[in-house]
Symmetry: D2
Subunit: 435 residues, 4 copies
């Protein structure tokens, strides 16, 4: 039975702590082939035919081609287009295993998007990777509206990425004592966590109790990386330190549904995961009428009905479709699109002014973005980030603001379309692809 999760006396734990810390500090390059070795071994004598790998270097055109050939043999399917990639597979280490080729996702350009942010300022042409007809046209239309309205104001309200270990004790009473200890020893926990990372800084630790458990959220700032991995590693180191110091932990688990990675949750809507960004604007009704063939009063009425609808239906977003723009930008720029689960949450707040002007704001409480690490350095994705002036360190807040501004444009475009009933019409004109 695995040992670290369980507390078995101080001594064992300290040992394990050192061992785990060692492991975290010194990623053992030799270990990887070992893993592969084991994997290959298991197939011997079995009917199971694993995907072929090259033990010496699996990130080559040859290795990829071998897998494409394997697929042809196994399924009869040629991968002509999948194997038509323009970059060197050696760049993929750390991004994908058993690489065979690429999905080519079409990118449409929308813009200019006019942003009045603290980091993003000026006009941007936004790459949207999508196969949903009308999506680019719709965002583009919203960008035109907001351009003429003077642009989108954006503000980053908060910034935190977390891992959420849970700790089990003999009873609630010991759980409470641990909670106090954890608060008192925050500085040391922070030190232990930050041994594993340069860019991650532990900000605070939230605590939530139930039964004999303490659920925590270790909140970090993570620089220009999205930070799920660095927070994972830092929190593991912190937990190892904690387990070495604190006798009474019966078990701990590095995740227990309180960071809700790749999932939507109220706790993240309240407490932020990634960036919490607000995009807002005030639009004269004349522009809605002229550009959108719509009307702010009717839009506002629809908004009220949607607000209540969303409250009843238990939705994570009382707005329209922020996930559309977010997903399209995420795929284009190498973000982890699985984070659309969290990043799709939004709070819309609108006001109809007496003169018919429409104040509209959208708050994205869990926008998980990076301009460094992950998929951001891949060939096409990096070009898309660079087109926005956002590749690499120091740019993540600019990028977050551009995403939020894009979302607002899409909200007002679809919001207009619904009341103008152009919605169905426009879908019909551009259509979905009907093969």
């Amino acid at each position: 039975m695995p040992s670290v999760g369980t507390r078995r006396g101080h001594h064992a734990c300290v040992q394990r702590y050192e061992q785990l810390l060692h492991m975290l500090r010194l990623p053992d390059k030799e270990a990887a082939p070992g893993v592969r070795k084991r994997e290959m071994a298991t197939t011997t004598g079995s009917e199971r035919v694993p995907v072929p790998r090259d033990r010496d270097d699996d990130y080559t055109r040859e290795a990829a081609t071998a897998r494409a050939d394997f697929i042809r043999e196994q399924t009869g399917q040629e991968l002509e287009h999948v194997t038509s990639y323009s970059f060197d597979p050696s760049t993929l280490t750390g991004n994908v295993e058993q690489f065979v080729g690429v999905a080519q996702v079409p990118i449409g350009l929308a813009g200019p998007l006019l942003v009045n942010g603290e980091h993003a300022q000026g006009e941007f042409y936004v790459p949207l990777a999508t196969a949903e007809g009308t999506l680019v046209a719709s965002y583009n239309r919203g960008m035109r509206l907001l351009y003429e309205a003077g642009g989108v104001k954006t503000t980053i309200m908060d910034d935190r990425m977390q891992r959420a270990p849970a700790f089990l004790f003999a009873s609630a009473r010991e759980a409470r004592e641990f909670g106090e200890w954890l608060r008192e020893n925050f500085d040391d926990v922070k030190k232990a966590a930050e041994t594993t990372t340069k860019s991650g800084k532990l900000q605070d630790i939230e605590q939530y109790t139930a039964g004999r458990m303490v659920y925590t959220r270790f909140n970090y700032t993570t620089g220009d990386a999205a930070g799920q991995n660095l927070t994972g590693k830092a929190t593991a180191a912190a937990c190892a330190w904690i387990a070495g110091k604190y006798e009474d932990i019966e078990h701990f688990f590095l995740e227990s549904n309180f960071a809700t990675d790749k999932k939507s949750s109220q706790v993240n809507m309240l407490h932020t995961r990634g960036k919490r960004v607000v995009a807002e604007a005030t639009i004269p009704n004349e522009l809605f009428q002229r550009i959108m063939r719509s009307d702010s009063r009717l839009m506002y009425r629809a908004r009220q009905v949607s607000n209540l609808g969303g409250f009843m239906s238990g939705v994570n977003n009382n707005g329209a479709h922020s996930a559309n723009g977010i997903t399209a930008m995420f795929i284009a720029t190498g973000q982890d699109a699985a984070n659309v689960a969290e990043s799709s949450a939004a709070f819309v707040y609108a006001e109809l002014r007496e003169n018919g002007d429409y104040y509209y704001s959208v708050t994205i409480p869990s926008l998980i973005v990076a301009t460094y690490g992950g998929g951001t350095g891949l060939a096409t994705q990096r070009e898309c980030l660079e087109m926005l002036g956002c590749y690499g360190k120091g740019n993540v807040r600019t990028f977050a603001e551009i995403v939020a501004a894009t979302v607002l444009c899409g909200e007002l475009s679809l919001g207009s379309a619904i009341v103008a009933e152009e919605w169905v019409e426009s879908h019909d004109l551009y259509g979905r692809n009907r093969p």
Copy 2:
């Protein structure tokens, strides 16, 4: 002010109804250029520089190159890789506007995945488009576990796609009367809706009331398409018919946050959006120990803690990370990845048997998939669907089962890793790409 949303006497409404039906039945091919014409016109004499379009045919390499050149002029950025696509842009009509090139998303192969479905039966090699290191390795490892455990049993429990118009009345009393009328006239409403679609069938209409509103959900089966567009069109036609028949509607809106397209909601978790699929398996502990260096008893304990954690945190998924596998398959196969917002919801139910066997099931209540239409026919995406034997009509249920089975493999793999603390370790070995 737009007219259809508002009821202004029977006569106007019938006229509008005919007009809208006409529009819905006969998509006017000539209309599209008109839209474009207006758009180009507005830029004249403005400082705003829109993305260039070719009025005659915008779906050509030349038009795309013109946009790439435009980006270079505007931003200084070359799009060398983005413009390296292997297909003819003319295939993109209905998928994207203002096409400039592609995002090349790396695909790793996982498998063989052994599925005991009603539609999917046998072994599959699964294409996962991702840039998140370890994702493919982790799913692959889960697939091996489940292979040795005899495969994943999959069952589609329900199938429905919806649009959710809301209707406003003078007061709650008229709203209630309308609700009764709508139930009584279901057959006619169904007929009106289905005039616009061959594959969409209106199954029923749910009603939810609040204040002076009736929120509805028009539930359809949609064949092998995901169906958001066809249900939109069909429901618009139904609403037009309704508005022409029923005097007392003050307003209606085609969407009011009760279908929660591209958003996660309790109503969809309860009532299904897309396919409701269960994947389940019973795994001997010996396999966990041998293959996963884990243990079913510890996994079960972690599951209990996660279940409560998720309940407290208000998460839409008490499992681990289904969005990872779903997103990677969605991008590879041309699904709308924005639907990860809905499709990330899941219900995990596990049992520890007295002999240590672990029964594990994951239910995906809103899996939105297609094997026809949308992005499924794009060059690389179609190859990926064909690799699974799932391209085109008659295959959507097979595909849904493969996705669900993949998800289960990923859940057990990450679930094992968390308790075995391989989790951080494995991320460290394969790493995220650190440029």
Copy 3:
């Protein structure tokens, strides 16, 4: 191990079915003393000193006095006021066990409340049992506002009480088959359920699936009773019939958190538990200004902020404090106040009209009320119901409308106070009791 929950072959189940049906049909009066006998027996030779009971007749002043004496002996506390009740304890059979006396909860009168319902029509003086200073004054003030505004319009939108058994099967596939069978055999299930009740009518059975379970909601109308008990009994009979007919049920449980009795849930907010009632009114701003020292524009702004606040905080009620009025009426009229858990849910929808008029509606989706059975026949409670003309059969809808109208008055009163900042002030004037 208990047997009915588990399916052990057809024969055993049919036997058990007959046995359970027998039990349900013929409540065995002799059984009760047996239960008591066992209970008394256990105390012999133990240090545990149970509350004394009279085996022959426990519902007498003497038995109650014996318990008051017992409390004095055990705790030193005289129960002078608790034992000052004005009714004969023999009326309490079926309401309480081990009766010792009463809580005297002060009742304040509010009104006149002017209701324009379908059942409640005219003026009512409303008894509010509470110890919260300002509550009666606040509702009274709201009633005055609405009186001058022409009264509160009330509409009952739906009516259903449920029990929610869950059924377990070998796998999801058998669960799905059972779901189909249950739909096909609804008429027989209904017959089996209704053998146990005169007033309960099974309307339909909702189904929700996850893993290898089918969660159901058996929805009944229950006449003038709240109906939790009759639906419990009817559903038990239905389940016994089902278990006798359907071979493959592995387990069933009469409740599995899908009726959410005494708890608040999204499913009940969507699908109604008890009565779904709307109260609505349109109030001229002049009245807000004159009577409430408030203003509709400011109230509306506060409402918008509260709507978003409630959406973020994950509240079950975007209004102000409906539980206050509901609880006070529930205690006064013998409703089960524990149902405040469900009945506290509400949907507020408001509109600011161009002339400053304020349309306001409150929807109570799970108002659980009775005018018959339960505590409604107790001495003081019955007087309070009769004061409203609502005691006994045929009155439950009238009563539900009065409750909803009262709630709306309280919402507008507190809503006014918050913006007028009379809120804190008024609490200070009338104060909470400070001993």
Copy 4:
């Protein structure tokens, strides 16, 4: 238009601040008659017949009798029992307005309840005010089980009562700046808040942002009072101070659905409102079998199914029926029963040990209780608190632990009954009152 909510320059605000502080500090006893005077005046010349009040002293038997007579005249209903109260109405100042008499709610005694708390230690006989047949018997049975199992361990994990003002600004950017200012000026805000209260201590201020708003939660400890009023007053004083200091507030509202008084919310389930109490115990299966005719293995299975059911249904409590015991104790002891809305939330966490022992814990995250102020000093309510040794200052934690221990007994009793199918049976034996 009311002025304080709106910021109109520094000068006006400081004036208003002094005025409001003055008002908060010196409750003007002369003001109350003025309020009454206005109220009486408005009825002149109107058809509306208000409930009669005595301007000089409304808290007398005579005033109450006048109202009972009024009801007889208006409705024909005698209030024989309602007017049979045993205390002097002069004690009701600050508890109720327009007092007419009492609801006599029957109290049953359950016990002995054995508690191993930090504050509550030993045996208690628990007064339960209810009209729901079987409730007392069921809790009593659970208390016997837990007595034999060695008692219930209780732990108070947290303690906080809040008001939640929201602040509006020109845009999100000013909102963020205010948030920083508020953190920096916490000490002064705390001082301003605490000028109004002896027992209330401001602990911290949570912040949640959306759009151009900052929603806050002012968290206090409140001694032995429930504290809704004192936190209201203290927060109003704090807001007045803030508004006088901070120029840029456009509006503020004392409540915006983030304290969710009298409502259930995720934010309170996460962050506590009132006391967060855990009750836990480990019970040998032998006791379940002997006392409850049940079995821990079957109960655990049912629990798993209920956990998932509650997750799907969106319930605020994955347990069984804590509201039953809480409400009955609340009514008996003068708590505000409307707080059942919040206090009904619960987290159940259970474990089946290998030997069949059943570890069971219930966490009540928002248990709002007092032993001082509110209704606790009323005649019968005080006797009930004293019977528990809990009346007055210094006892609130003892009382909270007794409530939590009672809840746990009820959970295991109903949990047993459901699987033993005694549930319906027992309801049938004791029955609901059928008049």
